[in-house]
């Protein structure tokens, strides 16, 4: 390959890396450095009685993370206006780590209220702290109370938390059989965020060294994987363009609405499922329309791409036996044509986003990362299926069933919280779970997911891709004998 071109390519790669690293840092912001976590609240079953000047309420709390930022309590005022104040303290043994005073006259009856701590409390290794609440000036008849409970709401029923005596709330040292209804907001410092610039610099160094090696090897006339890939890409770019254009042109060739179907299909599917799941099966997912459409659009792409790739070798048999073209071109172009469709389907997705009033934030810039991974997974599975199809024609029928199973195993129209905790590990083996979750966080929450989500998504897309490419590469020489 031309030396000048290689040099230019390397320069572009390095510049793009630096730009991406900077943009990524800017877009992700705090999500890169911290992770905030909120515990779930117990279901309130009753109150603990008036908190007066001679009551000391203590409750052991268990929390993950590095610092406790605040907590939510669920209070009641006995339907009257009280005076005085509550003193909320976070203690470690006898030492008070943080305090927050609340004017009880501002409290509303039977409602939760959030208290940010003045100076966050450091959480010890074992995550165990004591919450102590006193009301120095309150007298009976002019005091508030707090709710407590011993069950937690799960998907179908209330689950008893089987609290030990130690975990229950203590009034003046005497344990009740319930625990305070609290929700704890804690913050964890993330290693990746603290050292982001070091990690980015290390990556740059690796990339620069690789570029150098590439240039030296190229000078010596040796072949290398990346350069070969670029050479193949430039050589077959026109063919790929033609094949993708062919797929796209013939797909809607004799239909009246033509390309409009690319928008209409996901929209109509969403409408049907929206009606079904918002009336027949109630689900309380916020912004359900967008939640649903994101899932549908992503899964549709996966399903269409893999099904098209499945037949790509077998259906092109007349070509493969007559002309030499690298065989990966066939599944690749099929996945690429599905990707064109997918990009069109994003237009109604953004329309729904605007209609439902979801704010558009910069985090939307992170979406290409998710789309790239989705593409990789589809290509990997598609290549695997294309190879399998050559040797066993049953694959096409089997895939019909498997892809349906896959659809139900992906949180498209249900929230992931309905999956029993014992199945969660297995459930998370689904690469699409990570990708769809990523895209939803980016689109709907308007923030970047935690760094771990990126790593999981990258692994989840790399493994199927590597598997597919490997199987395809090992079997491709025998394709022509079996089609």
């Amino acid at each position: 390959m031309n030396e000048k071109k290689v040099k230019r390519g390397c320069a572009i790669a390095l510049a793009a890396y630096i730009l991406l690293a900077a943009v990524f840092n800017w877009v992700c912001g705090d999500q890169l450095r911290f992770r905030d976590e909120q515990t779930d609240m117990l279901s309130a079953s009753g109150v603990i009685g008036e908190i007066t000047s001679d009551t000391v309420v203590t409750q052991r709390i268990q929390v993950d993370g590095d610092r406790l930022l605040g907590l939510t309590l669920y209070g009641a005022t006995y339907a009257r206006q009280n005076t005085g104040w509550l003193c909320v303290e976070i203690c470690l043994g006898e030492q008070v780590l943080a305090t927050r005073n609340v004017d009880v006259s501002t409290m509303a009856d039977n409602s939760a209220f959030y208290l940010g701590l003045e100076g966050p409390a450091d959480i010890p290794e074992d995550g165990s702290l004591i919450l102590r609440i006193t009301a120095p000036e309150s007298v009976p008849g002019n005091a508030v109370t707090l709710y407590s409970g011993r069950t937690m709401a799960a998907a179908h029923a209330e689950v008893d938390m089987s609290l030990t005596e130690e975990e229950c709330v203590h009034i003046n040292g005497v344990a009740l059989d319930t625990a305070l209804c609290t929700q704890l907001l804690s913050r964890e410092d993330l290693w990746f965020g603290q050292y982001y610039w070091y990690v980015a610099a290390a990556g740059l160094l690796v990339l620069a060294i690789y570029c150098l090696v590439l240039m030296l090897r190229n000078k010596a006339g040796k072949r290398s994987l990346v350069l070969n890939m670029f050479a193949a890409f430039t050589r077959y770019r026109y063919l790929m363009k033609q094949l993708v254009a062919r797929d796209f042109k013939t797909k809607y060739k004799r239909s009246v609405l033509g390309v409009l179907w690319s928008f209409l299909n996901p929209l109509l599917t969403m409408v049907v499922q929206y009606i079904v799941f918002s009336t027949l099966f109630r689900s309380d997912i916020p912004n359900f329309a967008l939640y649903l459409l994101t899932g549908i659009v992503c899964f549709n792409f996966f399903s269409e791409a893999t099904t098209m790739a499945l037949g790509s070798i077998v259906n092109n048999a007349p070509l493969i036996t007559k002309v030499y073209v690298p065989k990966y071109i066939y599944p690749l172009t099929r996945v690429m044509s599905s990707a064109v469709n997918f990009l069109l389907a994003l237009i109604p997705l953004f329309a729904v986003m605007l209609i439902t009033g979801t704010p558009v934030r910069v985090s939307i810039l992170l979406m290409p990362a998710g789309l790239l991974c989705l593409f990789a997974v589809s290509l990997g599975i598609g290549m695997l299926l294309a190879s399998a199809m050559v040797f066993f024609r049953d694959t096409q029928f089997l895939w019909g069933v498997v892809s349906m199973l896959w659809m139900y195993a992906t949180p498209i129209f249900y929230p992931e919280s309905i999956i029993p905790a014992s199945f969660m590990t297995l459930y998370k083996c689904n690469p699409l779970y990570h990708i769809i979750r990523f895209i939803r966080i980016v689109l709907m929450d308007g923030i970047s997911p935690e760094p771990k989500a990126y790593a999981l998504m990258a692994i989840a897309s790399f493994v199927p891709l590597a598997l597919g490419v490997l199987v395809f590469k090992r079997t491709q020489d025998r394709f022509v004998l079996h089609i």
Binding site: Y238, L239, K241, Q242, L243, R246, K249, T250, K253, R254, N316, P318, L319, I320, T321, K322, V323, Y324, V325, F391, F392, R393, D394, T395, D477, V480, L481
Partner: protein, 240 residues
């Protein structure tokens, strides 16, 4: 050296009934009934072709001629031996590979051209020539499914022979269409082969072989029977 073939062997493994479903495969495997019959289409074929040389390949049906062409053009990977090919190869094994009936003639020119490996600018520059040679006139913008089979062949021929490759692989001289077009296409083909490119040429017509080729390779049941000067090999072949 344009083509260098060293000890090429090609072995097909054939089962009596081609097992194509997983269930069948497992059943047969358990029964121990998966038997293959080996068929050697080529055995230790070695030759070299210089730049600009026209090598003829002759032999009876089933001698391995087409297999050899497919190995050289990269469609089949040989079981043994090595092939080194320097330059672009255009195989003229079958016309109209990858035609799409729903696309117009014009769109198919670019699609088929891309499949044959022609570069984009080359196709754009030669498009008028292709259209003119095919004599399709205004039909060039009609979907291919409305073409007669003769029209399809004419278009396919025009695309296939517009090339300027380093190596041309020809399986019989193609002449398609009605009598005038056949004459025209044959002439085009001969021009192409005589134009200084390296050619591998398979034919059953000894007349054409004698006329076109510099050297001839005679294959018999997958083995090289003779390789040498056109006259000597053709005479020996006829004498058998």
């Amino acid at each position: 050296m344009m083509i260098q073939a060293e000890n090429i062997s090609m072995c097909y493994r054939m089962t009596y009934d081609r097992v194509q479903s997983m269930k069948e495969y497992l059943v047969q495997l358990v029964k121990g009934k998966i038997k293959y019959e080996e068929f050697w289409a080529l055995r230790n074929v070695s030759f070299e072709v210089d730049k600009g040389e026209v090598l003829g390949i002759i032999g009876h049906n089933g001698a391995g001629k087409s297999t050899l062409l497919k190995v050289i053009s990269g469609i089949l990977k040989p079981t043994g031996g090595q092939v080194a090919v320097n330059g672009t190869v255009v195989p003229m094994l079958e016309l109209g590979s990858g035609f799409d009936a729903d696309l117009s003639g014009r769109e198919n020119v670019f699609l088929n051209g891309a499949i044959l490996g022609y570069p984009e600018d080359f196709l754009k520059a030669k498009y008028e020539e292709i259209a003119a040679f095919s004599e399709l006139g205004q039909f060039i913008d009609v979907p291919l499914r409305n073409y007669s089979s003769g029209m399809v062949m004419r278009l396919a021929f025009s695309i296939a022979t517009v090339v300027d490759p380093d190596i041309l692989i020809v399986d019989e001289i193609l002449s398609v269409g009605d009598a005038p077009f056949q004459e025209k296409s044959k002439k085009r083909m001969l021009e192409l082969m005589g134009g200084g490119t390296t050619v591998l040429f398979v034919s059953h017509s000894l007349g054409q072989i004698r006329e076109m080729c510099d050297r001839v390779l005679w294959l018999d049941h997958g083995e090289m029977k003779m390789l040498g000067e056109t006259k000597a090999v053709c005479d020996a072949y006829e004498g058998e």
